[in-house]
């Protein structure tokens, strides 16, 4: 898939060509460090694990990832380059995947740059490195889920701010699915099967079970199929929305 690769390269290069990448990475590192060491009390716990570090990821992603994904498609629509892109020999699906993979690669890089936290914990004591590796993997998968939502939403509008706000709200719903705040919306009218399904969509519960070191393939499958569904919606959104 050379076209997917070409789009991936261009988008990734675009992140680093503008201050976006550096601002994102610095804020991500500072916040995750601050949360972990101060709010999470990493030192005080006396345990050599990264539980506090990962606990904050769903909340950090909530506003950082929509900031990464908001321009993916809305910018193309606003500047008219979508007409250029979509008249090159590329299928919408390949373009959607290329853009998504670029943003996902970028979050992977940001995540990898948190390695000093991991070094610190290993320095402090005997760390449970397999669990940490699994948690990183889980965090990466979850970031993909946020990104898939954000990329899809950005295809619906030419306005990046609108894309940001809607991505934030939709991701918030999926973070809190299973909590009363979201469940109450469905309580009373929705069939129990739907309520049950919504409850199972929670990013938090799937992510938590991964970070606890429980290897359950269903959590990974959840995130991957979640990503797949949103990317399909993304394809439809690009196809229907490109003309206006």
């Amino acid at each position: 898939m050379t076209v997917t690769g070409a789009i991936l390269r261009r988008e990734l290069g675009n992140y680093f060509a503008t201050p976006v990448a550096y601002v994102f990475i610095v804020i991500f590192l500072v916040l995750s460090g601050a949360f972990t060491f101060y709010l999470g009390g990493l030192y005080e716990r006396g345990q050599a694990d990264l539980q506090p570090f990962f606990t904050f990821h769903p909340w950090l992603y909530l506003f950082l990832i929509p900031a990464l994904s908001m321009r993916l498609w809305s910018e193309e629509r606003k500047s008219g380059t979508i007409e250029l892109l979509m008249t090159l020999p590329v299928s919408v699906g390949a373009a959607v995947i290329g853009k998504f993979l670029a943003a996902w690669t970028f979050t992977g890089i940001a995540l990898a740059l948190t390695f000093p936290v991991w070094l610190t914990i290993n320095y402090l004591g005997h760390a449970d490195n397999p669990v940490i590796a699994l948690s990183y993997f889980g965090s990466f998968l979850m970031a993909g889920a946020y990104l898939a939502v954000g990329a899809c939403v950005s295809a619906f509008t030419r306005n990046q701010v609108i894309a940001f706000v809607f991505s934030f709200v939709i991701c918030l719903v999926f973070v809190l699915a299973g909590f009363p705040m979201v469940m109450d919306i469905f309580q009373g009218w929705a069939p129990p099967a739907l309520i049950n399904a919504v409850g199972r969509m929670s990013f938090l519960s799937h992510f938590e079970s991964i970070t606890k070191g429980v290897i359950d393939l269903r959590d990974a499958i959840f995130f991957l199929s979640f990503i797949g569904c949103w990317l399909m919606a993304n394809v439809i959104a690009v196809e229907t929305g490109k003309s206006d």
Partner: protein
Amino acid sequence: MTSAGAQSRAAVEVASLGKDFGAFSAVKDISFAVRRGEVLGFLGPNGAGKSTTMKMIAGFLAPTRGQVWVGGYDIDRRPLEAKRCLGYLPEGAPAYADMSVSAFLTFIARMRGYRRRERRSRVAAAVEKANLGSVAYKPIETLSKGFKRRVGLAQAILHDPPILVMDEPTDGLDPNQKHEVRTLIREMARDKAILISTHILEEVDAICDRAIIIAHGRLKFDGTPQQLLCMSSLHNAVRLRFAGNVPADAAARLLDLHGVGRVNQSDEADQLMVLPNNATAIVKQVAQLARAETWQLQELVVESGQLDEVFRRITGPAEAAQRGEPA
């Protein structure tokens, strides 16, 4: 199967094409073809539906009705094959503004599937053809309009496509830049099928072998620029400039001639415009009369016609279009 189809069709074929935006019908039942070696001018006033038609040809918009074949491939069913044959310059020449010219063209070359070495030579060739050498490493957003347009051109011709579709390639350029772009298009015309839209009439004369005119989404004319000129009421008209004032009986004598429809007094006192019936040649009769009457003439000019007059008539309100149509 498809290769057989590719052989038998013109480079671009448009059949009964239509596009609705909600209740509004922007393009209504348009059919035409562009053949190899031909530059087809696509004319029409603003809002006529030129860009909408080109977007459907390029596979960006899905038609509401009708079909498009590019390089023999149905753009709807075989979009990738069709797009490989096509170089397309969208209206306004959009490009990724934050990239440098060379990075942008490299991206396009990657999208076209060229590997490293060929990619370099393709980009270099496109930069040279579009005369972008001096700005190759500048971000596109910092370029002037003329350069941006040329970046769009370079992008469209990078893979040396057999078919080029360009939406207003010279819009907003200064006369020198226009000339350059036209020269480039003419150079490429020999072995390609080229469709360019424009609302500049001189362009048709300058580069097109054939022209089609649309207005309000409908096809109004399909023919050569020469045929278009023939539709002008001024075609074959004779302009007379007298030394001194126009003789008092000149207009009446001219009207008596066979084939003369009207005689107009122009703004200048020393000139008459003699208009033929049905665009027939009347210069001979007029010249004979002038000699017989021993009029003192400074000028006797046969007009070839005015494109803008024809254009206005064809694309204007319906009742005006009836007047002076050749039989």
